[in-house]
Amino acid sequence: MTGPIPWTRCAGQPPSSDARWISYLTADRRLALVSDLTRPASFVVEAPTDEFLGRPTASADGASPRDPRPPGTLSFPYGPVTFGLVEAGRIDLETPGEKVVSAVPRTGYKHRQIDRSVIGRTPRDALPWIERRVGPFSIAHGATFLAAAESAAGAPVLERELWLRALGAELQRIHVHLGLIGRSLEAAAQPVGTAQIAALAEEIRRSMGRWGGHRWLFGLLDPGYPWRRLDRPDLRRLAGDVAGIRRRFDRLWELARGTRIYIDRLQATAVLPRACALALGATGPVARASGIGWDDRSADPVPPYDQLEVPPRVESEGDALARILVRVAEIRQSAELIEQIVDRWPGELREVDPRPGVAPGRGWARSESPAGDLVYDVTLTEGRIGALGVRTASAANWPAFARALEGSVFTDFHFAWESFGLSFAETDG
């Protein structure tokens, strides 16, 4: 075979239905990404294997099926020090000039041994580490981790805690999506739009700070945290802030939608066809933009989502525009959810049972983080964490990102990057 592999081809057979997709997600090789506690202390920055990226692997005679490269192919590392990625991570790009023929993510620069640090601590004491795996998703991680620990202990939990976790998670989803939309506008050289969206992101951080005492809601999930303002007037005020942000966002998005230069850059950029998304185990807004109607909040809901309507926001094109449109729809959806959560805030203190554990002392939980399906697997020994497994959405989406980038034009990189919304911090742990 000559030339780069066609980018629409994905190794592996796509599962036949979305229901199977889920078992595929939790059972196949991507679970190997569950943090490995034996990872050496001086963690080496490794390149993922072709198999992990879902590419055809080397043939019997040892030749990589992607060889030979077109003449004059340059290969260069983007990162780990860049202004564009906003993070320490690296993507090795190969290009003969314009088209990207290969993109290989290199993760691990930010490995902080979070999974190892929490061993031997009680779940409550472990929370500061879990929250700081990835600051913008602190609630998704904290809540899923606590739910897994509750599942392991078989301990009932106050229903109100679950509503609080959902409220925090929806606030952060709005914040994360706003950030990505703002930076995609920046990549299209739209300074006024960038600044106005950045102002909205600042406003939601301020609302979180005023309501929850901390701009990133670190600590909020701890029952002893001093700034838990769960009275109706405080919740109403928060919902009012969010409604205002949503109104202003709607006006800005109308303008962005009418900005040809912006939409043109997103359209048909870094396409991930549905079959690829399925075969590569993509999740979250990335999967939904490729036509996969899965959202943990409706497909596998825990309270309070079982009492709320959360139809998945789906697009079919699989390009950067579709991913941005899913995020736009989810900002609106989260704003509506926040309103409903505040309206129906549980008055009396009721307890609910956690998800059944998988073995004595071992439990699990999943939730829809801003990047997608997040799974924690916690084993407790005498009330302390004995083992911890995490499957993050960012880690799951790398193969899809690498595949979508292959065949794109070099200058599409930032649109691909912001529309996928991957986090090195979340991957590295």
Partner: protein
């Protein structure tokens, strides 16, 4: 394009009045003003130390550079009335209750103050992303750092000041060294956040580097993460501009 501008004009001026006026409530959430440095009776200090995830409480003193402002050591009714603009002298040097004025005075780290403009380059060396985004927030209309002559540059070759975010992992040691080499002299560093100051929650990470080891002057800004207004004040201190309203003398 006109639509955008009309929209921006309609929103009006959002920018903080800092440094002409002290920062407002909305710019400093309670956790940015935790009174963690108030003098403690020994028994109380002991009780608090047992709850601290970073072992920041040693004896009756708090190592401010390690403290996350997580409020775990505080009783349920915490009142957030502490100072907002503390810098710490360095990693692992517990500051006395009320901070260390001597250390604060000596933080104009360039030989001559930058009078007009300064170019800053943010570098992530192992952060949770919250510090990164708080640093980038300086460009949003609420802070608009460029009005104070503070500009982000996309390359270290044009940078006077390096903003380091996160705990320096072993894998980032070489990239940081090369970034510093690429910067013209004079140069300096602001360590943004507990991770960069002292390692914070990740103090015991094997192979952890330290921001101060490069031989370049450093301003240490604690917090987890520090708020943008605190980052702005720290950059101004680093370049030696006169103290602003609301900053401690």
């Amino acid at each position: 394009m006109t639509g955008w501008i009309v929209q921006a004009v309609r929103r009006g001026r959002l920018t903080t009045r800092f440094p002409r006026a002290p920062p407002g409530e909305e710019e400093l959430p309670p956790t940015a003003r935790l009174p963690v440095l108030a003098p403690l009776p020994p028994t109380e200090a002991q009780r608090r130390a047992a709850r601290c995830p970073t072992e920041a409480i040693e004896g009756t003193r708090v190592d401010e550079g390690r403290c996350l402002r997580c409020a775990r050591c505080l009783p349920g009714e915490a009142v957030a009335d502490g100072p907002w603009d503390h810098l710490v002298p360095g990693p692992g040097s517990p500051s006395a209750p009320g901070g260390d004025p001597e250390a604060e005075r000596s933080t104009s780290i360039f030989a001559a103050p930058f009078l007009r403009s300064i170019h800053v380059f943010p570098i992530d060396v192992g952060s949770c992303q919250a510090c990164n985004l708080e640093v980038l927030a300086l460009a949003n209309p609420y802070y608009d750092a460029s009005r104070l002559g503070i500009f982000f540059t996309p390359t270290p070759r044009h940078a006077d000041l390096l903003l380091v975010m996160g705990v320096p992992t072993a894998a980032m040691e070489e990239p940081v060294r090369r970034t510093l080499e690429a910067m013209p002299s004079p140069k300096a560093i602001v360590a943004v956040g507990a991770c960069a100051v002292s390692g914070g929650l990740f103090r015991s990470l094997p192979g952890r580097g330290s921001v101060g080891s490069a031989g370049v002057p450093v301003v240490y800004l604690p917090g987890c993460p520090p708020s943008p207004i605190q980052i702005l004040a720290a950059i101004r201190r680093a370049v030696g501009v006169p103290r602003a309203a609301g900053e401690r003398p």
